[in-house]
Amino acid sequence: MQQLSAQDREIDLGYLFGYYTQEGDHSAVTGGKGTEKLSDYDSRIVVHIPLDSTQSLGARVGINYYSSASSDRIDSKISSASRNDVRTIIELNYQKEKPGKNTTISLYSGGSVETDYISSSFGGGWMRNSRDENTLYGFDLKIFLDTWNIIVPEELRTTAYTDIPTDKRRTFNLSNFWSQIISRRSQIHLALDLVLQQGLLSTPFHRVYFENTPVPKIEKLPTLRFKTPLSFRWNYRIHEYWIWRNWTRYYWDTWNIHAFTWVFESPVLLPGGWSIAPYYRFHIQSAAQYFAPKAEHSIGKSFYTSDFDLSGLNSHRFGFALQYNRPLQLKTNQKKLSISSFELRSMRYLRSDGLSAWLAAFSIAVKI
């Protein structure tokens, strides 16, 4: 292993806390009509440890606590244990650079656990930088092997299991990317994901109601789905103190969802390493071919959902970020500690079917 300088031996440690809350009236648990009130508290720690001048290890550990009024409607016991849940996540990664070839390889492994879902994942990546470091391209492959702990609505527990083909879900996610510096003020990034999902792709505790039939069934969706999102990012330094960040995405999948997303962020750089960044996001999508609102499905269809996340919709997201990016040395008795960045972020989300949400996040990164 090559010796590291004092600066290169520094460990990067980051912490993020986020709060999300939403309200709406199209809960899929109650068949597409009902409260979607939900609150989520998310806390994560990220560590990056350089092993030598070419190798590093990283870890991300997180826990989220969420409470959901709609999940409380899975059975008739209101405010029962189904109202709250905790999800724990851990991810590990390893990177090795090959300086002579300007390439970097990465390996990943991770997992998450919550009451009704267990996930394990692994993968790897490769990227190459050009000699002048103006062009970067590569790919990442992540594989998720997940298992549902199947919970169905209380009144359907004698009949629903025949509609559940498996408790497994597998996802293969291949991300390809290409970045290019265009000029002294401009750079672009193109990304294409190819995603294949197989297994139980519906949610077992979602109800679906049919025309002229009072008794619901559980949501039933195909066991195969292929997705292709293609995105383009363009960052432009319009002025010494003003930046434009644009991101657009076109999405298509085999459930017939076509979507377009555009994000515009406009950071303004202030003295002392501060910046403020208002941003706006617009999203529009067509409905999945298996979607219909409550009690509008006809009996006899092979697949059906009343989950409004898969409906035809558009959404607007307005937000504001305050960021600090200049190293701030802190004097401690034992060791050097410096704050490398922190960010405060707040967002308001409005969806065309009436769902609204608010999010606030705080992150801080230090070097020790």
Binding site: R44, S183, Q197
Partner: protein, 74 residues
């Protein structure tokens, strides 16, 4: 020509419009690009916010985050 093919061709055309302006930018000329807000990656707080969209919309991916798997979401 199918709608999907037309959209892909449109995106590639916009992309190719940028190519003629590419030239090799040397290290000392990257002053404006080195600003953290010029990064092509999203911050952790932005990725967290994007995750909220993954749970509320049918489309995801191509943004440095996963496009499926790891959760009971779409």
């Amino acid at each position: 020509m199918g709608k999907k093919v037309k959209v892909c061709l449109f995106i590639l055309t916009i992309f190719c419009l940028f190519l003629p302006s590419c030239r090799s930018i040397k290290g000392m000329e990257k002053y404006y690009l080195s600003e953290p807000k010029m990064s092509l990656q999203d911050t952790d707080a932005t990725l967290f916010e994007n995750n909220a969209a993954i749970y509320r919309e049918g489309a995801s991916g191509a943004n440095g985050n996963k496009a499926g798997g790891g959760c009971g979401c779409h």
